[in-house]
Symmetry: C2
Subunit: 225 residues, 2 copies
């Protein structure tokens, strides 16, 4: 199947938004994610439906078909492998890899994918701790850890994933010692979703508004693998 870059972007967006809460994905959510207007999304959804890449119920949102999910996973695999490669071999900082990977992910061959994966020794997570889909593109149910907002106050946890994309926010977090692998003490979880924590070894603390905290997943040291 010959898909345009743009179609791949839509499928990837639907995949990511579905991950959010595993429900039907709404037109407006896709529009916001891709920074286009909703009529544009509607017309693209029609095309994706024609190609059996999504299931659509008018006015009620869409879900990926198996085939659509495979395409999305391929794109996500490319993206995360590239992020890993750029940080490991080209001296990029984890905070700046997203944009570059976003442009390259549509333009690499299977051959390139394979060689990058080999150079990295078949990695399983990217620099943000997000799982890299396996080469067979089987849907992974392997969300690592839990949202930091589900912690109890006083918990000590290991940061598993920081899935934000904004370089400024990522730099800020790194400056405060908040990176995958780091041990963290959760100081406060406010009812409106704000989380305050302190990284092991740092005596400063960070407060994270809900929309930042949402992207951070952690695990108890016990469950650390």
């Amino acid at each position: 199947m010959m898909l345009s870059d743009v179609m791949e972007d839509y499928l990837k967006a639907i995949y990511q938004l579905q991950r959010g809460d595993d429900e039907r994905v709404k037109t407006s959510a896709i529009a916001e994610e891709l920074d286009v207007t909703s009529p544009t999304v509607t017309s693209m959804l029609e095309k994706l439906e024609d190609r059996s890449l999504i299931d659509r119920e008018k006015y009620r949102g869409v879900t990926l078909t198996e085939e659509g999910e495979t395409v999305a996973l391929e794109v996500v695999r490319h993206h995360r492998l590239l992020e890993a490669y750029l940080t490991e071999h080209l001296d990029y900082d984890w905070s700046e890899v997203h944009e570059e990977a976003d442009r390259l992910e549509h333009h690499i061959s299977e051959n390139f994918e394979a060689r990058v994966a080999a150079a990295l020794d078949e990695p399983e997570v990217d620099p943000h701790g997000s799982p890299i889909p396996s080469p067979d593109l089987e849907p992974p149910n392997t969300a690592v850890g839990n949202p930091i907002s589900e912690c109890g106050e006083g918990d000590t946890v290991i940061v598993k994933e920081v899935a934000d994309h904004d370089p400024e926010i990522l730099s800020y977090l790194a400056d405060h010692g908040l990176e995958p692998g780091v041990e963290l003490e959760v100081l406060e979880v406010a009812p409106f979703g704000m989380v305050t924590a302190s990284a092991r070894g740092s005596d400063t603390q960070v407060s994270l508004p809900e929309d930042v905290a949402r992207h951070i997943r952690v695990a108890l040291p016990a469950e650390a693998e």
Copy 2:
């Protein structure tokens, strides 16, 4: 200036074809190079002229403006850096890098370009021996060596550049020991452009039709740097 991939491809094509014989580049030559029809080329040439990237005389072909040449050199620099990187660091064979670089060249950032160049220690030639434009994108007059067809019979020369793009032909040449850096004895130069030669250390010989020989440049060992 915001240019589409396609416009970059046209400028690159014009640049390469101009290199051929430094004359005005004709519509049909571009059409063949890019595998589109000539009306398509004409309409794109109008757009490139509107943007002052080419000088055009209707019915008589085009040349690049200084600005157009800079864009072309940027694309060529990306292309050749990528070819070098793929062979040096990702285990590609020189015969297969062209296609991959052709797709990626439009999608890498200046940052990526700089880091790849640094990883390669600012290389000056790509795996085919073609010069990589410098970061300042000054027009290089630095064609290395001379066309193999200008050799005398019996000359012993060093292969400087093999500028073909066809993986099959490149593999064939490599199988016969004909790669940049190799010492070669020119056995025969036929009037219709066919060149027969034998690589140092190999006792087999290769015969190259004019359209293959045209892409091979050599230098006398004396002038070898």
